[in-house]
């Protein structure tokens, strides 16, 4: 189907189209702003993410070493048995948050395990290390989810901007040009017709 099918070459339609293209262009400008902002946000997030990951990996290795040592020292059954006696378990609440209209999960720690009283020193030492990085791990997971959603949204916004700039707006412009040409042609025809009629009427009077 042709692009021009269904196009009414009327002044009213032309004015409506011009109003619409103005709106679309303003929207595109906003989307471009959003895209730039998201790109800036994403590159900053990725930088932070890289640094945090490296630090976390280090702490994770230390925690893993301490946990391994506890298992080797106490034996697997005793470690499991002591772990069951930890009074409060880790409780998390996942809430939605938004940046530039991008929703990402925000993890809130409701309660942390209470380890100091019940565990043997070896296990308590390992548990402390794990607990120490737990918050960091949750924050990192939250940050990763945020970066992922921002990247997704950036992709979507970019596709929207490209579609608007390369397809929608040019097609609107073509329709407007078509209608304007059509209207010019019609007004020229009208002028010629008026002139011809005027000439004919003048000849009849003479």
């Amino acid at each position: 189907m042709s692009l021009m099918s269904g196009v009414r070459p009327t002044k009213g339609y032309l004015m409506d189209l011009k109003r619409r293209i103005g709106f679309i262009e303003r929207g595109t400008e906003f989307l471009k702003l959003k895209r730039d902002h998201l790109a800036k946000e994403l590159s900053a997030s990725l930088e932070v993410l890289r640094g945090r990951r490296r630090l976390l990996l280090q702490s994770l290795q230390e925690a893993y070493r301490a946990l391994t040592a506890a298992y080797l020292s106490l034996g697997p059954t005793e470690v499991r048995s002591q772990a069951t006696s930890v009074k409060r378990k880790l409780e998390l609440e996942v809430l939605p948050r938004s940046v530039m209209g991008v929703r990402y999960p925000y993890v809130k720690i409701v309660s942390k395990p209470q380890i100091e009283a019940e565990l043997d020193i070896t296990l308590s030492h390992a548990a402390e290390r794990v607990l120490g990085i737990l918050e960091e791990m949750i924050q990192l997971a939250e940050f990763e989810a945020r970066a992922e959603r921002i990247a997704d949204e950036l992709g979507k916004t970019n596709r929207k901007v490209n579609a608007l700039e390369n397809t929608i707006i040019p097609s609107y412009r073509r329709i407007i040009k078509f209608i304007e040409d059509k209207l010019d042609e019609e007004s020229l025809e009208e002028l010629v017709r008026v002139k011809l009629i005027g000439g004919a009427l003048a000849r009849r009077r003479e």
């Binding site: 506890a70 059954t77 005793e78 048995s81 100091e116 009283a117 308590s124 402390e128």
Partner: protein, 347 residues
């Protein structure tokens, strides 16, 4: 030397030959995988170990090693004179029973299923209590403690008040430790003066180190525990490291000078604390006990020390094998496993 003792000593001498050598344990720790470890173990007096499929292999193997240790211990207890047998039963059977009671209480506290609780127990016959199953099957932790009435653990009811108040398990575990420590002290008195020396040294040294570890833990623990209990209640039994020293450890800003002041061998054993490797302290403690038992055995080849040394070697071998089995099941590098083993470093 009484005839019973002679037989038990000779039996211990004979059985020491069955224990794994340092090279054998090192080779087991250096096995490429758990399968290779089981394969190598089958060439030792442990023979081929069959483990049920589906469960945790390292836990199944831990049970096998415990059974082997209890079996070895039972042979000596059966052959030993009454006073020695009584002490050994109190020292080992009661220790394991206390461990099982702690695991039952923890299971009840956390609402574990009965089969899970029973599965976590050391495979042994009850020593003072009637049945572990009956204790695990009762509805609540309070009912479990009530069921301990009429046994040496009946004093646990006194700690129930604090348990209910703070809803934490440590007062009950502390009471169990206390009951065990006082029973051990009583049964040591049943041994002759010469037999007592090595036992006392091991028991006292072990208690001192455990007290120091608890004291170190209290430094980072909440003040609530210290508020709830006086230090002498938290440390009911002390030997060479008294309450004053323990208080210094709890309160000192810098631990190093306080521990150095306690002197050798404590300072050497506790040294990994400065690098944050707490687990290595227990390894060093076991190494020290291993060496002391070996020295004790060499001092008198025909005395009670031989029995004690044999049982110490057996238990340390069990601990090493449990560690190796877990490490191999988890794919831990051999050098990391070897670091926490005792026998390979005691050759």
């Amino acid at each position: 030397m009484t005839p019973g003792l002679t037989y038990a000593v000779i039996r211990s001498h004979a059985l020491i030959g069955d224990l794994l050598t340092a090279e054998q344990i090192r080779a087991l720790a250096e096995s490429e995988s758990l399968t290779a470890f089981i394969e190598r173990l089958s060439e030792t007096p442990y023979g081929r170990i069959s483990v049920e499929a589906g469960g945790d292999v390292s836990i199944a193997m831990e049970k096998v090693f415990y059974r082997k240790f209890i079996e070895r211990m039972a042979k000596i207890v059966d052959a030993a004179p009454r006073n020695i047998a009584e002490f050994l039963q109190a020292y080992y059977y009661m220790r394991f029973e206390v461990l099982n009671l702690k695991r039952i209480l923890r299971g009840k506290f956390s609402g574990m299923l009965i089969p899970q609780i029973l599965d976590s127990l050391i495979p042994m016959e009850p020593y003072h209590v009637k049945s572990f199953e009956q204790l695990a099957e009762v509805e609540t932790l309070e009912a479990t403690v009530e069921r301990l009435g009429g046994t040496p653990y009946s004093a646990l009811t006194a700690s129930m008040e604090l348990y209910k108040k703070i809803e934490e398990l440590w007062p009950l575990e502390l009471a169990l430790n206390h009951i065990y420590a006082t029973t051990i002290l009583r049964s040591v008195e049943g041994l002759s003066y010469w037999d007592r020396t090595l036992v006392r040294w091991i028991v006292e040294f072990e208690t001192d180190i455990e007290n120091l570890l608890v004291a170190v833990k209290q430094r980072s623990a909440s003040e609530r525990i210290l508020e709830a209990h006086r230090l002498d209640e938290l440390f009911p039994v002390t030997y060479h490291v008294g309450i004053d020293k323990i208080r210094e450890v709890v309160e000192a800003r810098d631990l190093k000078p306080v521990i150095s002041e306690i002197g050798f061998p404590y300072s050497e054993i506790l040294a990994p604390l400065y690098e944050g490797d707490v687990a290595l302290i227990r390894t060093r403690l076991r190494q020290h006990i291993y060496r002391t038992a070996r020295q004790g055995r060499s001092v008198n080849d025909f005395g009670y020390n031989v029995i004690m040394a044999y049982l110490v070697f057996c238990e340390i071998e069990k601990d090493d094998l449990v560690g190796i089995a877990w490490g191999k099941a988890q794919g831990i590098p051999s050098e990391d496993i070897l670091k926490y083993l005792v026998v390979p470093h005691s050759a």
